[in-house]
């Protein structure tokens, strides 16, 4: 288990490093079109060949990992913070506050988030740069993704508030913000960490889903979701297995997050 954990960590670190140093690793810019070398097979010049427009597939993969691997954790952080705030307040206050907040959470859970995302994207200004639009997309994912975690946090908060050490602290006059800061938040930290790690692959896949609908990251910026979306014409795959690289990376990265998540869950 320990070895698996280390491997997962190594995988995530190496993919993170590769995407950070994409500029030095990639043989060309992700948007550069080598139109005379379109659909080329793997070569020294283009390790994973080129796509239909002659863009280097390896360059697009490492830059795409940068988008997915950095923005998905940020979106996960945003949704975890929102979940902690909403779930924590509901659990801490209890009574009618909890009923109202959890009712609102249930309502949020019932929303068809995919259609909501499509609608929000449709009303965004058209002249946003691809990077701005992808940041907005992930921010939306983060803003919309807090509800399931909020229910878990609310339940956790209520459980912590019933524990002996909290009763003891209250008996000694500890209350309000101090109780939250000193006792509640540290006790909820493993649950929050688990929610954070759980959300990352969910958001990577959500972006891939949007990509499959053609509503993911704008061209020419690549993302793992967008690159996986290119595999839709699967009848073409058999003679070009190197085109599966983005899918393999996506599976490996999500697998690594799952391994780390198991550890977090054990701790939680």
């Amino acid at each position: 288990m320990k070895i698996l954990h280390k491997i997962a960590l190594a995988v995530l670190l190496s993919t993170a490093l590769a995407s950070v140093f994409a500029r030095y690793i990639a043989p060309a810019g992700y948007e550069q079109q080598f139109r005379d070398e379109a659909q080329a097979g793997p070569s020294l010049h283009h390790p994973l060949g080129t796509d239909e427009l002659g863009r280097d597939r390896f360059a697009r993969l490492v830059y795409g990992m940068r988008v997915s691997l950095f923005l998905a954790p940020l979106a996960a952080l945003l949704s975890t913070i929102l979940a902690a705030a909403v779930g924590g307040v509901a659990g801490f206050c209890g009574g009618w506050v909890e009923r109202i907040v959890m009712g609102a959470t249930d309502l949020f859970l019932a929303l068809p988030w995919l259609f909501l995302l499509i609608t929000v994207r449709a009303v965004l200004p058209l002249n946003l740069s691809p990077m701005t639009s992808v940041i907005i997309t992930f921010a939306l994912l983060g803003i919309l993704g807090w509800a399931p975690a909020a229910r878990v946090i609310c339940a956790g908060a209520k459980q912590v508030l019933q524990s002996d050490f909290v009763w003891g602290a209250r008996a000694r006059g500890c209350g309000g913000l101090r109780l939250i800061r000193v006792h509640l938040l540290p006790s909820l930290r493993p649950a929050l960490a688990a929610q954070f790690f759980l959300s990352i692959p969910v958001f990577i896949i959500a972006e891939a889903n949007l990509g499959a609908l053609g509503l993911g990251v704008s061209e020419p910026l690549p993302s793992l979701g967008g690159l996986v979306c290119e595999l839709q014409d699967f009848v073409m795959l058999r003679p070009e297995p190197w085109r599966l690289a983005p899918l393999v990376v996506l599976i490996v990265v999500i697998g690594a997050f799952q391994v780390l998540l198991s550890k977090q869950e054990v701790h939680a």
């Binding site: 079109q33 058209l126 002249n127 020419p220 073409m236």
Partner: protein, 535 residues
């Protein structure tokens, strides 16, 4: 030796006939379930396929020669300068259920077609003016139709009028075409069987169609359809994407055929609506002919055709493709890709290039967005190539993909977009079918719809020429007017035509007599003469 050669040639010539099978079941796929079997209400591709295979028509435009040919009408005569048409009908023709066909059916069909309550898409072209259609049944085999005003292109319009029975107990399900609907399982398949009463025979006097039945399976996914075709489960695919074409071609070159450039075009245009919620300085760019022409010149159409469509497209010259043999203005030539020339044209219009960024007279950086429909990979790729091409002349382009409804809303209601990339499907070769696109008051005048008065002198000239071609039956006058429209459209570039896609079809080598056409329905337009080789 010569005799031996002759014998071998004879054997080869006869082999297709010898091994071809009279009968059998042809199988292919529909992308969706047909929405209707009433031929007058057809408004979707699947229903259109069923209609093409089952309905009888007075005449048909030959998909290869592009000329009208007699079908249920053995001859016709246009009268009163295009206001009336007299048809002589074939005698002894019966529907699939045995009901006799007569001139009363044509009168009934036309009355039904022009009934406003039916909302038939085909009927709009016949509405030439205020007033009603007058039908005069002269005899069981002769009818005269009189329209309120002359109808340009009157003959070809009947290529889209399916005749329905006024007397059959089966109503519109009684077929005059080569097949009739025998079975339909919603969402799964439609089974068509040979019409035993079909009137047509081949040159040897054999009853047509040769096939016994056609099974149309509903299959939404084109990749799965291609796999089924490869496995021999279906016999043809009416249109395949360039990617699937290449894949099937690599398996077996005889699996696919390129029928040549179609009339379908991919194009982009700038929003020129005065009330559009975009900055004024951008409206100035978009209404500048020099700007539009420069953008057009800076797009490498050859690369688009070669990379996006894998060579199965040709750079577009204008709004009418050369494949439209009669109506294309053959004197037009597209300026070759010329980024340097485009930049010079922009500089002569007051634009300047500073640090790889193009700026207008007021110093605004030239940047705009191109919207296209999400999920259409070839359009997304075209937009990305345009983005790269225009970057070379300092123009920054943002590519935005939107779901189709949002895109339509922006194009037709809010006008909140800057440039749009879409495609057009031109089913009708005649310019009268494009009135709403080219008349400045037209709803489909995409760059500035429903103008109260022509916004520019060249739009006024297009209006004039379009009205001339619509108001006369003199083909030469019509052609001259339409040629002039094409010339103005190329010079002013309100729409930047990018490529004309080839018609790519997959027809199994088992299917004999196939002659794919660039026009719909590409693979099975001559369905009655298609034959299957022995499986």
């Amino acid at each position: 030796m010569r005799a031996k050669g002759l014998l071998v040639s004879l054997v080869l010539l006869c082999s297709s006939a010898v091994f071809a099978q009279h009968g059998g079941e042809l199988r292919f796929c529909l992308r969706s379930d047909p929405k209707t079997f009433n031929p007058l209400l057809v408004n979707d591709d699947a229903s259109e396929t069923v209609r093409y295979l089952t309905a009888g028509f007075l005449l048909r435009v030959n998909r290869l020669t592009q000329l009208p040919e007699p079908e249920l009408a053995s001859s016709w005569k246009v009268l009163d300068g295009g206001k009336s048409i007299r048809f002589k009908l074939r005698s002894d023709v019966r529907y699939s259920d045995g009901t006799p066909f007569s001139a009363a059916d044509v009168a009934y069909t036309m009355q039904q077609l022009l009934d406003p309550a039916i909302h038939s898409a085909t009927s709009d072209a016949f509405r030439s003016g205020e007033g009603k259609l007058v039908t005069r049944v002269l005899s069981p085999t002769s009818i005269e139709l009189t329209f309120p005003a002359p109808v340009a292109n009157l003959i070809s319009l009947f290529d889209g009028v399916p005749i329905i029975s006024s007397a059959s107990p089966q109503k519109e399900m009684a077929a005059l075409g080569p097949f009739f609907v025998a079975e339909h399982k919603a969402g799964a398949f439609v089974l068509l069987k040979r019409n035993p009463n079909y009137w047509k025979k081949d040159v040897q006097g054999r009853q047509l169609p040769y096939l016994d039945s056609i099974r149309l399976d509903v299959e939404q996914n084109p990749d799965i359809e291609a796999m089924r075709y490869q496995r021999g489960e279906v016999d043809l695919i009416n249109t395949v994407s360039p990617a699937i074409y290449e894949k099937l071609s690599s398996v077996n070159a005889s699996f696919v055929r390129d029928a040549g450039p179609s009339t379908d075009a991919e194009e982009m245009w700038f929003n020129q609506v005065p009330s559009a919620p975009i900055p004024g300085y951008k409206k100035q760019w978009f209404t500048s002919t020099a700007f539009r022409r420069a953008v057009s010149d800076a797009i490498n159409r050859e690369d688009v055709a070669r990379l996006v469509f894998r060579g199965h497209a040709v750079p577009a010259i204008g709004n009418v493709p050369p494949s439209n043999k009669f109506w294309f203005n053959s004197s037009l030539r597209r300026d070759a890709y010329d980024a340097a020339g485009a930049l010079r044209r922009l500089q002569s219009d007051g634009f300047r290039l500073e640090n790889q960024q193009l700026r207008d007279k007021s110093g605004n950086p030239v940047e705009f967005s191109i919207v296209t429909n999400a999920g259409n990979r070839s359009r997304e790729q075209m937009a990305t190539m345009i983005q790269q091409d225009l970057k070379k002349i300092g123009i920054k382009v943002n590519v935005v993909t939107l779901d189709f409804n949002s895109l339509l809303e922006r194009m037709t209601q809010t006008f909140n977009y800057e440039a749009c990339l879409l495609g057009t499907v031109n089913g009708d070769l005649d310019p009268s079918s494009q009135m709403t696109m080219w008349l400045s008051s037209g709803e489909d005048h995409i760059w500035n719809p429903k103008e109260k008065a022509p916004a520019t002198p060249w739009e006024a000239e297009i209006d004039k020429q379009m009205r001339i071609q619509a108001s006369t039956l003199d083909l030469h006058r019509r052609k001259a007017a339409w040629d002039q429209v094409q010339k103005i459209a190329l010079e002013q570039a309100p729409v930047i035509y990018l490529v004309n896609k080839d018609s790519l079809v997959a027809i199994s080598p088992q299917v004999k007599n196939a002659q794919p056409s660039p026009f719909r329905p590409q693979a099975y337009w001559n369905i009655e003469t298609l034959m299957l080789a022995r499986r």
